[in-house]
Subunit: 177 residues, 2 copies
């Protein structure tokens, strides 16, 4: 990260006007907000690198990940999870199908549905992408002590919009069969 050291704020004349309210709770929250930014930034850096080798981007990653974790999921479900439009997903999905990472099957009960599955090639890619992230998470949990897993999980869970929590929980636990 080279050198990020800030120059001493010679908060000289005409400085930035109204200072922040110096509320310690606010400060604490701001620090956590920034930590989340940096953690997320580094967290996606490993997959990004792998993906660039395939000519793929983050959108492809998300599709491979969620389809891999939930074989047979519907397109509409994927749209809901990713919160993007059909048109945006369209190209990415087409590319993944054309390059044989993903395939579709007609739904049994509803033949309008195109259920999504990873091919073996897709599964291999999924694992490649998961490896560094799993290692990173495990390391972090380990280094933060025994209670860390539960509390970290709890905080993340409560950062999610209240109305979505039940669905997310269902999705995550279901994905583990």
């Amino acid at each position: 990260m080279a050198d990020i050291n800030l120059q001493e704020k010679s908060d000289g004349p005409e400085s930035g006007a109204t200072p922040l309210p110096d509320d310690p709770e606010r400060r604490q929250a701001l620090e956590l907000i920034e930590l989340l930014f940096f953690a997320y930034r580094d967290f996606i850096s490993d997959p990004d690198e792998i993906l660039s080798g395939y000519g793929f981007g983050r959108a492809h990653h998300r599709v491979v990940h969620f389809v891999g974790r939930n074989p047979g999921m519907r397109v509409a479900q994927l749209l809901e999870i990713l919160r993007i439009t059909k048109q945006s997903l369209g190209r990415v999905l087409r590319e993944l199908i054309e390059t044989d990472f993903v395939y579709q099957r007609e739904g049994d009960r509803d033949r309008r549905q195109r259920l999504l599955y990873l091919t073996d090639k897709g599964i291999a890619l999924m694992h490649d992408l998961q490896e560094p992230q799993i290692a990173r998470v495990r390391r972090a949990i380990e280094q933060a002590g025994p209670e860390a897993e539960r509390l970290y999980r709890d905080v993340l869970f409560h950062l999610i919009d209240a109305g979505d929590r039940a669905n997310v929980e269902l999705l995550i636990s279901k994905a583990d069969e």
Copy 2:
């Protein structure tokens, strides 16, 4: 979040091939990875909405946030934090300066530097953007119990690339004056 319920996986014929290694530690890590995705997704949704009102995007948000937290920071430091190129930052910064959210001042000791500051208008925007995020973080910490703040912070910190942690810590704590 509408309805994300997955259809029962009628993991019929020709299903997705090689199943995942059913390692509970792996499973746990995958769930945390997904929680981080969902938490981050919702976490940036509030600012996104506010920004769209100004015709700004996430890049503008990041600039306003970090310049606001570190008045007088240099362009090079901002680039290091955001991990983007000079050219990418250029447009965003120009827009923020033209619309009077950010201004630049020559460095005192080094007159090549263009130190960055928020105008009053910029500070107001920063506060608007911070409000929902601070509320969200506080709520989550509260609901996750007394130890949550420390451990959540610790995990996030260790998710950051080891080589960057010292700099991030410095940046974050310095930002609180």
